[in-house]
Amino acid sequence: MMDLYQLVYCSRNTICEQGDHLAEAVSAILAAARHNNRQAGVTGALLFTQSWFAQVLEGPRDAVEATFERIQSDMRHGDVTVLSFLPAGQRSFPDWSMAFAGEPTESATHALDLLVPRSSGVETLTAAGHGVLRLLERITQDENTRVSV
């Protein structure tokens, strides 16, 4: 596909801070994301922990930008950091309007907490973006093959 872009970002999960129920809030987020993404030709994956969200969005550049922009008015997260936003040769999650990494396992939670960058250098961010992408690919792969992480 022409003009295919892949975005990796992370943000702080503020759902619990606001006293909302985490599982309900996340399923609402997922339902809205899947609905919107299908129409926009966007695919991707979402992982969350008590503290963080990490998300990959991929698709036509305009559609990824519009999807990201819509998410920015959402107060259920904060401290949004774009880890990478680059042209991509192919999609990592072609079959998922929004793959969801399920109830986060302890190892995935731990891995994500480690990946969330503490500094803002471009190389650090890109490396963290790469790490988040690999983590999400691995988890969704495992979900597909019913092998637990």
């Binding site: 990201f68 922009e69 920015q72 008015s73 107060m75 949004v80 774009v82």
Partner: protein, 473 residues
């Protein structure tokens, strides 16, 4: 930030429904002005974002204030984007324009719909709140949401927002007062480090008034002859003799009395008055020093701002020398590290041209700023002035001593003399001497004194013996 909205360059966005569809009839664009030519809506709309423009803002704020009761339910948020100019410069104006539209979208999505949103120009926005919307909650949310990343044409743009919040009070329900208060709060938010909001506090207005009056007085102080120079002696340790003086500026205000330099020099820098003041200092110091016996040097501080017009600085120095008849090698210009940081290459050339006149150049306050080795290597300074904080005060002690030793050694190896400032006791004099300083300045030698007392000091020979007590032989 200018040039972002060039009429006709950007495709005009359709007029956003919120402007004409506003529920309050009092802010309809053409209401209440029937004696004038009715301005068309286009005159009230910012073509780039579709928001109301400054003119609409001015009308709306007047009308809202006239129509509300009680007035304390109304508040104004003044919003400035941080680093927007940087985005315009690096990613280009089309990306800057797209960014302003996204900011507009986020403003609209973060508000409930009863708020009025305006783009006042450049990267300035305003939100007028009515009917008890909590201004501080909204400000908090806007700092968060507007500070999140933006994706535009394949690029990531990171900006922030600073916000000033002011509420209408019983005492001041005028449009001008509300706008002024919100702007003062905005200024305070920026001064506190940006990407935050600040609510107006009465002390901000008091501070601004004080500052404004001080500024007015400062602008005329030179003309009124309120400045004086005092001179502080510099002692050469080896020769046990006063070999130079530093000229220090004093402002004797007719009512305030002596105004401390720390409280007026930064303002003089900010309003540009420091250039004319600096020229007066140069002329006066040269004219005074030429009367002194024994050919001591006279050190004069030069503001970073004076280096910005290099031809003017060079002409001023030449004229001060020729008018007074002072030998050029008796004049020493003290420059700060911030002067060097501001312009790098241009300033080195200026320093070389000043040096070519035969005058001396000293690096002032060394150790307090970046203290970069490369800056000392970039120009052959005659002298390094070691900041007084290493001699006395909290930074003194073993750490301060190590810094003094390192700078003095560095100076010695680069062929520069090292003078310690702020020497007040014999112990401090001994410390800087044993750690390699060649000269000392401070109350131990002499406090800053008027020019006529300098003459007396130089004529009497008592000084050398008085101060030599503090020095090891």
């Amino acid at each position: 930030m200018s040039g972002v909205v060039e009429p006709g360059r950007s495709k005009p966005a359709p007029v956003v429904a919120r402007v004409p569809a506003d529920p309050a009839p009092s802010v309809q664009p053409d209401s209440g002005r029937s004696h004038e030519a009715s301005p068309s809506e286009v005159d009230l709309v910012d073509p780039l974002t579709g928001l109301g423009n400054r003119r609409h803002f001015n009308q709306a704020i007047d009308q809202v204030l006239a129509s509300i009761a009680p007035p304390d339910r109304t508040a104004l948020l003044m919003i400035d984007l941080d680093r927007f100019k940087n985005i315009n410069d690096t990613l280009g104006h089309p990306v800057g324009d797209a960014l302003l539209r996204l900011v507009t979208r986020r403003l609209q999505q973060s508000t409930r719909g009863s708020e009025l949103i305006f783009r006042l120009g450049g990267d300035e926005f305003a939100v007028l709140l009515r009917n008890g919307v909590d201004a501080e909650v909204l400000a908090d949310r806007l700092v968060d949401v507007l500070g999140r990343p933006y994706l535009i044409e394949g690029q990531v743009a990171n900006i922030g927002a600073s916000i000033g919040v002011a509420a209408v009070t019983e005492n001041d329900a005028t449009a001008a007062g509300l706008v002024r208060h919100a702007n003062l709060a905005l200024h305070s938010a920026k001064a506190a480090g940006r990407q935050r909001w600040q609510a107006f506090e009465p002390v901000m207005a008091q501070r601004a008034d004080t500052r404004r009056v001080l500024e007015i007085d400062l602008r005329k102080a030179l003309r009124m002859g309120e400045f004086r120079l005092v001179y502080q002696a510099q002692l050469n340790i080896q020769g046990r003799a006063v070999t130079g003086f530093e000229a220090l500026l004093r402002w004797h205000h007719p009512i305030r009395g002596l105004v401390p330099p720390d409280s007026f020099i930064p303002i003089a820098e900010e309003i540009g008055a420091i250039v004319a003041i600096g020229e007066w200092v140069l002329r006066t110091a040269c004219a005074e020093a030429v009367k002194w016996p024994g050919n001591p040097t006279i050190a004069v501080n030069v503001s970073p701002l004076q280096f910005e017009d290099r031809d003017r600085l060079l002409a001023t120095v030449q004229r001060a020398l020729s008018t007074s008849g002072l030998a050029p090698d008796r004049l020493e210009l003290e420059i700060t590290e911030s002067s060097l940081l501001r312009q790098d290459r241009g300033i080195l050339e200026t320093l070389h041209r000043l040096r070519a006149l035969g005058i001396r150049i000293a690096m002032d306050d060394f150790g307090t700023g970046y203290s970069s080795l490369s800056q000392l290597m970039a120009f052959p300074f005659d002298k390094i002035k070691i900041d007084q904080s290493f001699v006395r005060g909290p930074a003194a002690g073993p750490g301060g001593t190590a810094v003094v030793r390192a700078i003095a050694a560095l100076g010695a190896s680069l062929g520069m003399s090292a003078i310690a400032e702020g020497v007040e006791t014999a112990e401090q004099a001994l410390m800087v001497q044993t750690n390699g300083c060649t000269d000392i300045q401070g109350y131990l030698i002499s406090k800053p004194i008027p020019g006529d007392q300098v003459l007396e000091m130089l004529r009497s020979s008592s000084l050398g013996t008085a101060t030599a007590k503090g020095l090891a032989s």
